[in-house]
Amino acid sequence: MVRALQQIFIIIILILLLAALPKIISVDPSSGSLEWSFDSLPQIYGDFILEVSGGSLGTYQLGQQTRPIAEDIADNFLTSLQIVLIAVNASLIISLIFGVFISRFRLTKLFGAFLNILASIPDFIIIVMSMLLAVKIYKTTGIRVISLRPDGGALNTWFPTVLAAIAPTLYLFKLVSVKYYQTSGEDYIKTAVAKGMGLNYINFQHVYKNLEPFIKSELVKVISLAIGNLFIIEHIMNVSGITKFIFQSNEVQPIAIGLFAMLLISLFVYISIRFIFYLFKRGFIYE
């Protein structure tokens, strides 16, 4: 509990610091050196806390307009949440199924090899390449695969979701398969095999149970990966998610709110995955 509080505290500090960075760093044009204006920090944070404690989330700039954050954030938040939630959960399920339960089949091996190749490509290249591909498809066939218009509806969001799922999938798949391979050399597996248990049974009852802690401990990193890519994807695909608040302004208010929203999204996703684990255990594993 103490640790959790510590973590939350550190994160909040970090976010506030990040949000204020653009305000406090500047380049001195005459001497060409960095200038840190720390003395404006209390002012910045004072304003922020005042604003929030007043029950409002403040305002942000959208083009020439000044709009209250509170009015717009719900929609944007839900879009982003939807993308990350689907992406991470899907990636977990895919990597578990392909990495463990059906990994011994020849066809899955092919899929694994494909993922391995993808894994050696940095995410951002995958993102850009897939956009190129989508444009190409539209040009040659006339089929609109994606839409870069913020009001494009599902066309605007399904592709980002897939892209956001790629990085966590690759990461989890790698993790799961390595751990699976390591676990399979353990003595208790040998015992289980010796007892004549079926492969599926061993996978569920022995392997999965030992894999779960590893996945749990890497979960934070996986979500952070997804969120990181989410920013890029939203930014370059014109998805109106929370990224809008973070990249389109220099104000402390929207950045901080945006980052907190991001934190909230991570939290939701984390909870959802723990819930899935719980259901899975309840459904399939005999304790």
Binding site: P122, V220, G228, I232, H235
Partner: protein
């Protein structure tokens, strides 16, 4: 693959076909329009095409690659070093402090590129900071923010190992903390670290890519408004991809090219890491009991105990590695060598001379010339062509500037030991090659002849009792572009184009004569028999003199300056020598090393003329200012004629114009005269042209078309000066400094190479970032663009 990549990182810029600042200009070739953005593979000189503004993509990539890889490597080294040490020590703590774990966890919530984004966005756009400083910031910050994740993974691994039984044993034996870490834990983790290191490189590149998509480019973003475009200052790969992001709709190659290279980069590192990982994993992994579908591809290699250790034992991987190293080194050497030989205009021939010269008391010279001609072109020679200038002053010549006449009689010509047929017409000596000799790459030519020197001739001249032997030997013409580049002799400007040759001249003179020549070390006064040598010179001049007074001084780097003079003129030899020394020292300081060991100045009647290591000046003219300028001018020629070669017939302005510019720069930058005065002679020439109503003419015309020498001397000097006045802010503080730096860079680049108008334009265009059309005022660029 990674090795190839590293190779390109180091030698990339040398391989680049175009420089970063050279722009493809819209042009017609063979009825096809080449205009940016050029598609890849459309033009052989722009293999990956150009971007919207005409910059060559391949060059940009080759320049940018090193930034990408070295920055990534730097970041990774720093963070791995700190992260590993902190992690190792944190791992063996009895109880990991709660705050550390909390911090690690919190840190991993926030995507790292966000932190970098917020830090770099206020300082990256059109930054006042220097590029290197920005890169430095990026390296430092990126390292610091990613240390926690390294610490956490190293810490966990260390903690795991720390629980092992063998650590217990070591502890029981009394091993201290540091010993445990460095002798027991670190060796176990070495391989993991290696794999981690390579993977982290990929990770850093990915980080740079993510930032680039947000228009934050490492090394600074140049933001242009109207329309808003973002440009990478370093051309770093991720930046290139980022700045081309909006090209997904059209001209996709601009985006795909850097992206593909980036992909190649990261994939090669990933594959390396993967290979190593598989290797290590297969070595240590226990064999699984069930079918998992994740079997390693590599056969485990087991340590063989009890085998004798050998320094070198043959094995496949080792041999492959050695081959890789050798290929790496070989390719490097090749690239450097090829780059060097590609500078300047190529010459397909080389001649070296060994000459015996004997003079009798009547002033008749007998010569035995051994000339070794090398064919460096890929064509066979049917004939050898020489300039034999003494022949043009025979009785009945029509040159106004030559009073007397000369005799020149060739008595015997042999090629490779066999008697050869030759034709002598004007100054062109053509020696036929027998059919069985045509394919030889080396020819030994022996020419025996005798000559006298015309009284008060042009350069090749007898003045009183002194003999000035200029162009007195059969000078091999230069074989260029598949033919002998030999133009007929003309009065006035030089018509002979020679390459760089080595000379070995032995001489015998009558009593009382001394010799001053091109040679590095001339014989002492009064020594009338001996041998003189010179290396890599374009001409070999000899002054055979009697009763001349010698003045001596020394310039920088021990270069001797000697002045030969009579006392029957009104110019002060001491002052002239002082001027020569000052000018030479100035050029040594500002342009570069003087190519010879000594500089001889001969004051006597005749032409003002430069030869390698020796110049002739006429002190009997009234114009004292012109006399002084000439001394400086001929010294400047030692650089821009003696070392930077050019074809004096077809591109005469290249040495004369630049020499005149260098001369005026001596007065302008060295003596702080104002522009009007320093460049006075050029202005005077141009005014003379105007008065004569000659109109305008390009400077790059062959000398038989030149209407006035001012177009060769004055016009280029003034135009180069003009250009430097306009553009010096790109390169430095003052026009004086930039002008001299330009000359110096030009000299250093083309030392012992040949320059023509095209090479000059390419160099200058690049140097001052101007289009070829910039020179239209004074150079006919239509001949150059091809």
């Amino acid at each position: 693959m990674a090795a190839v990549l590293l190779f390109f990182c180091i030698f990339g810029p040398m391989l680049a076909p175009h420089s970063l600042t050279s722009v493809l200009e819209t042009q017609y070739t063979n009825g096809k329009v080449l205009a940016p953005p050029l598609e890849p593979f459309e033009s052989s000189s722009y293999p990956l095409g150009t971007d919207k503004w005409g910059y060559d993509l391949l060059s940009m990539i080759l320049y940018g690659l090193r930034y990408t890889v070295f920055i990534a490597a730097a970041v990774t080294s720093i963070k791995m070093a700190f992260g590993a040490i902190i992690g190792l020590y944190a791992g063996i703590l009895k109880r990991t402090p709660g705050w550390l774990i909390a911090f690690e966890n919190a840190w991993s919530y926030v995507p790292l590129f966000l932190i970098l984004y917020f830090f770099l966005s206020p300082i990256s756009f059109n930054s006042n900071l220097k590029q290197s400083v920005l890169i430095g910031y990026f390296i430092v910050i990126a390292s610091i923010i990613s240390i926690p994740s390294i610490v956490s993974s190293v810490r966990l691994k260390t903690a795991e190992l720390y629980k092992s039984v063998y650590i217990e044993a070591a502890k029981a034996l009394g091993a201290g903390k540091h010993r445990l870490i460095w002798k027991h834990i670190f060796p176990q983790l070495k391989e993991t670290f290696l794999v981690m290191f390579i993977l982290e490189i990929v990770y850093v590149i990915a980080l740079m890519g993510q930032l680039a998509l947000l228009n934050i480019f490492v090394g600074g973003t140049i933001m242009r408004y109207d329309p808003i475009i973002y440009l990478s200052a370093t051309k770093e790969l991720a930046g290139l991809a980022g700045q081309a992001r909006l090209n997904i709709y059209g001209n996709t190659h601009i985006l795909i090219a850097p992206l593909a290279v980036l992909l190649l980069t990261t994939v090669s590192f990933s594959l390396l890491a993967n290979g190593l990982k598989n290797r290590f994993q297969s070595n240590y992994q226990r064999t699984p009991w069930i079918k998992t579908g994740h079997e390693p591809l590599v056969q485990p290699s087991r340590k063989q105990y009890g085998r004798k250790k050998k320094f070198w034992s043959y094995s496949g991987p080792k041999a492959a590695f050695a081959a890789l190293v050798i290929a790496f080194a070989g390719a490097g050497v090749y690239v450097v060598a090829a780059k060097n030989s590609n500078v300047g205009v190529k010459s397909g021939s080389r001649a070296d001379y060994k000459i015996d010269l004997e003079m009798n008391s009547e002033g008749y010279f007998t010569v035995n010339a051994d000339i070794e001609m090398k064919n460096q072109s890929n064509k066979e020679w049917n004939e050898l062509v020489f300039y034999f200038i003494p022949n043009v002053f025979e009785d009945g010549h029509t040159f106004d500037s030559v009073e007397g006449t000369s005799e020149a009689d060739i008595t015997k010509v042999t090629v490779n030991g066999q008697k050869a047929n030759y034709k002598l017409k004007g100054d062109t000596l053509t020696i036929d090659l027998k059919s069985d000799m045509k394919d030889k790459s080396k020819h030994k030519v022996k020419i025996e002849y005798g000559f006298t020197v015309p009284d008060r001739g042009s350069r090749f001249s007898k003045v009183g009792t002194n003999y000035y032997l200029a162009q007195w030997y059969p000078m091999a013409a230069v074989f260029q572009k598949g033919k002998w580049n030999k133009e007929p002799y003309m009065e006035g400007l030089e018509t002979f184009h020679t390459g760089f040759s080595d000379f070995n001249v032995s001489y015998k003179l009558p009593e009382g004569y001394s010799l001053a020549s091109t040679a590095g070390i001339d014989p002492a006064e009064g020594e009338n028999e001996g041998t003189v040598k010179a290396k890599r010179v374009r001409d070999f001049f000899m002054a055979v003199m009697k009763d001349m007074k010698v003045y001596e001084t020394e310039a920088k780097e021990g270069v001797k300056v000697r002045l030969f003079s009579r006392s029957n003129h009104d110019k002060d030899p001491e002052a002239s020598l002082a001027l020569a020394k000052k000018a030479l020292t100035f050029y040594q300081d500002k342009i570069g090393e003087y190519p010879h060991e000594q500089l001889d100045i001969v004051l006597d009647e005749g032409q003002f003329m430069e030869y390698p290591g020796i110049v002739t000046i006429n002190p009997y003219i009234d114009d004292k200012r012109f006399y002084e300028i000439s001394i400086v001018h001929e010294i400047a020629h030692q650089y821009f004629y003696g070392v930077v070669a050019n074809d004096p017939y077809n591109h005469a302005w290249v040495d004369e114009g630049i020499t005149e510019f260098a001369t005026s720069m001596y007065f302008y930058a060295g003596q702080n005269q104002d522009e009007r005065q320093a460049f006075g002679i050029s202005h005077y020439r141009m005014e003379a042209i105007e008065e004569a109503g000659l109109g305008r003419q390009y400077s790059n015309v062959p000398i038989n078309e030149v209407k006035h020498s001012g177009f060769i001397y004055g016009q280029p000097a003034l135009e180069i000066y003009e250009m430097i006045q306009e553009k010096y802010t790109l390169k430095g503080e003052s026009p004086e400094a930039v002008g001299m730096q330009f000359l110096s860079d030009y000299y250093q680049k083309f030392r012992y190479k040949e320059v023509d108008t095209k090479e000059f334009i390419y160099f200058t265009k690049d140097y001052f970032s101007v289009p070829a059309g910039y020179f239209n005022n004074w150079i006919d660029t239509s001949k150059v663009n091809s």
